[in-house]
Symmetry: C2
Subunit: 471 residues, 2 copies
């Protein structure tokens, strides 16, 4: 618990109702979507507006108390676990859509807004906000910005970064900065907007975002292609792109994932396939029909065992929902589910999946792989049991080798989940020691007293890691 | 001239042929595309590869000599004028396309590559690199990255930033960093790639870039719409976007620009129009035809005086070439041409053009305005004479008011040309003093001895500004 003096300063800003440090509040905010990580904060605060965020930052800065910004805590990298204590700042009260500007195709929103409700709102106005992380029914725009969330539509439409064109943010000093605006072009100084996106709450607290919207696709079609040969599926992915077709979704599920998803969603999928591709194209009717026909041809030329186009939007939705349920379905198998995020150039997908299988076998662990094949962003997922220390060590050893393989194939340790706590020991593998030094210097430039989400991105010897049981 | 010791160290790296400090070399590299700015460097160096860049940086860092990276020097913000002396590093020897990866739709290139030759090469492979700054026949990819160049296709396709997915760069210390890769998703630490794009050579020297390529549009159509009423043209711009159509090009020329361009390109345009829109759509045939038909309707509904669709690719090319010639055509009028870059949300274009006209009249200066209406990026251009100090003061006073108006309308001081020397006094108007402080801290993090392109982006009292005569 914070000293009384500091508590009083915080209570004076937000009122009694919005600063909590009872056991329930502290435990609730001691973990996030990441398994096996927990650390108690000293307090939890719920600001109502930017001025309160600034006033809170000034108090915490004065007393050198860490601050951890938090949306819904759905991240999978330990990004919001308060490993060095401090105050968790929950942004849920700042959840309004401030403006949808139809002339400039831009929206101004607060960080606590739930992503899916934002998407639904702009769709009701005939517009489109493409980033669609699997967590979108729960996660917030602010959290998506902090982690630079991706999703199923990333291949064609890009990720959160591509849609954030302006920010208001509060620095560690409490000062408020504004970056960008309703502008498609702005080169006035360094691009702080894109620097803050994906900075995982370590550089500033985002209090407002200006988001780019695009015209919605008029039509879409969904199809499934099944393969007895993994390479056939991987070659299909490369060949579609080589044929200058960029589908809106191009998802991969391996045999193990198909079995689990089918059991969960009762789709009646064949269980003897090595790989299934779920492919969607959107746009103008003629273009979608032509692309889907061409993709069908490509699938068949790569010896797909079967290819089927969804007959109706309901059937398409059912397939997509099944894919989105992969994490949930896998989580039913065993007490602990560790979903990872290794990413490779798309031409290396088959190699990477085979590497994952080889590594899993070597360490005698169960790893199912699914993910966004079109952009090489795979989610090898281990089903395990955190109570079994010996097995957990084997899982961790396997993931370490998986990260190593991704880097070796020209990939990265994280495509869309962030570094957080979980991947910080591996960051240097991707960016090198000179890269780490530059990033640390940038961190120091924004946050000289290391108060913003400390312990994240950069590995520290001092990090606490408390293994608890979930699920 | 540098001390003999330092000269010898540099000569030992690149050989006699590739370090020059004779009068011709120094004068040639004392200015760039920006009028009225000149300062002599101490030397000019031409590295052959990344290792040489690193070795040169180490020497210059040790002796605390400024270094100014330079491509073709076409920038319009004084970005490569060596205002604090030092060594200009010309990247022309590092001009190779290292790889075009058809499976991953990515290219790896060196910074000295001429943009237009790169575009032509990827087009010959059936691919598309959209950023098309007007300087592209001369400017380099490295220069485009340093300034985050835009162009006519920015509205639909984005700018240079959207296509740079990986970089190799040499830090002030001489250390080499690599960022990103052939990856559509990568969130391993801060996004140094996007931070370096548009950093104007003040954070690192870029030695290699990985660029995203896209499938080329299959078809395009070009049209002209002429208006006696400026507001009709501006409303057309907003209405096209509101109708969920994003044209590949949506250019605006005011009456003064039309007169000059017509005289230059002999197009036989009517000279009594207040505004002309040059509109292009690309994509699949059906979509292009439908969009162009709808745009025609919108133009007519906004009282366009005439609307004409180019009958042939040759006619379309002629129109586009005429638009691209605007700067050249204007430059013939008087000895000095100052092309500016104020940008506003696209809904504010009419207001901004009227403001520019009012301000020009108030200061009794000639300012023609053209630019990328679709993304609000206008190029108010003064034709003047640098020998007439009194007139130049009036021009500068007018531009100061123009920047102020752009900011007031929610815009920015530069959409695609960069801050450099010319706009550094105005940067605070856009980003605020807290924004400037953060940017300075980032600069300090990368370049603690202020050696990389000093005097740029951040206004200094100490800056030298030598007014010379060009043209």
């Amino acid at each position: 618990m914070l000293q009384q003096e500091i508590r009083h300063e915080l209570l004076a800003i937000v009122g009694n109702e919005y600063y909590k440090d009872d056991a329930q509040a502290l435990v609730t905010h001691s973990y996030d979507g990441t398994p096996m990580l927990q650390a108690l904060p000293d307090g939890v605060i719920y600001p109502a507006n930017t001025e309160q965020v600034s006033a809170i930052m000034k108090v915490l800065n004065k007393h050198r108390i860490p601050i951890i910004g938090r949306g819904s805590g759905t991240n999978l990298c330990g990004g919001t676990v308060p490993v060095e204590g401090g105050v968790v700042m929950v942004m849920h009260r700042m959840n309004r859509i401030l403006e949808v500007d139809l002339e400039n195709l831009a929206a101004v929103v607060q960080p606590g807004l739930i992503t899916k409700s934002f998407i639904a709102h702009v769709e009701s106005l005939g517009l489109f906000y493409p980033p669609d992380p699997s967590s979108m029914a729960i996660s917030t725009i602010g959290g998506n910005i902090a982690e630079c969330s991706g999703g199923l539509r990333g291949l064609k439409y890009g990720t959160t970064k591509d849609y954030v064109i302006g920010l208001e943010a509060v620095l560690a000093s409490g000062e408020i900065i504004r970056t960008g605006g309703k502008l498609m072009k702005d080169v006035a100084g360094y691009d702080l907007t894109k620097l803050l996106v994906g900075s995982e709450g370590t550089l500033a607290i985002i209090t407002e975002a200006t988001l780019k919207l695009v015209p919605p696709p008029k039509f879409k079609k969904t199809m499934l292609a099944m393969y007895k040969d993994l390479y056939g599926a991987a070659r299909t992915v490369s060949k579609i792109i080589e044929n200058r077709i960029i589908p809106s979704t191009l998802e991969f599920l391996d045999n193990a994932t198909v079995r689990v998803v089918d059991d969960f969603a009762k789709l009646g999928l064949p269980l003897d396939m090595e790989a299934i591709l779920l492919i969607e194209q959107d746009g103008e009717l003629e273009v979608v029909e032509r692309d889907i026909a061409r993709i069908e041809e490509i699938c068949r030329s790569e010896q797909a065992h079967s290819v089927s186009v969804a007959e109706s939007p309901e059937e398409a939705l059912k397939l997509l929902t099944a894919r989105r349920s992969a994490f949930t379905a896998l989580a039913r198998l065993r007490p602990t589910t560790i979903l990872e995020d290794a990413t490779v150039p798309r031409s290396k997908i088959a190699e990477m999946v085979l590497e994952i299988n080889r590594i899993a076998q070597k360490h005698q662990v169960t790893i199912c792989t699914f993910g966004h094949a079109g952009d090489g962003n795979l989610h090898p997922t281990a089903t395990t049991d955190a109570r079994d220390q010996e097995e957990i060590h084997r899982v961790e050893a396997a993931f370490e080798e998986i990260f190593e393989a991704a880097i070796r194939l020209g990939g990265t340790i994280t495509g869309e989940h962030g570094v957080g706590l979980v991947k910080s020991p591996y960051l240097e593998w991707k960016v090198g020691s000179a890269g780490i030094e530059v990033m640390k210097a940038v961190k120091q430039a924004f946050d000289p007293h290391q108060l913003l989400n400390p312990g994240k991105i950069f590995a520290k010897q001092s990090r606490k890691r408390v293994v608890l049981q979930h699920g």
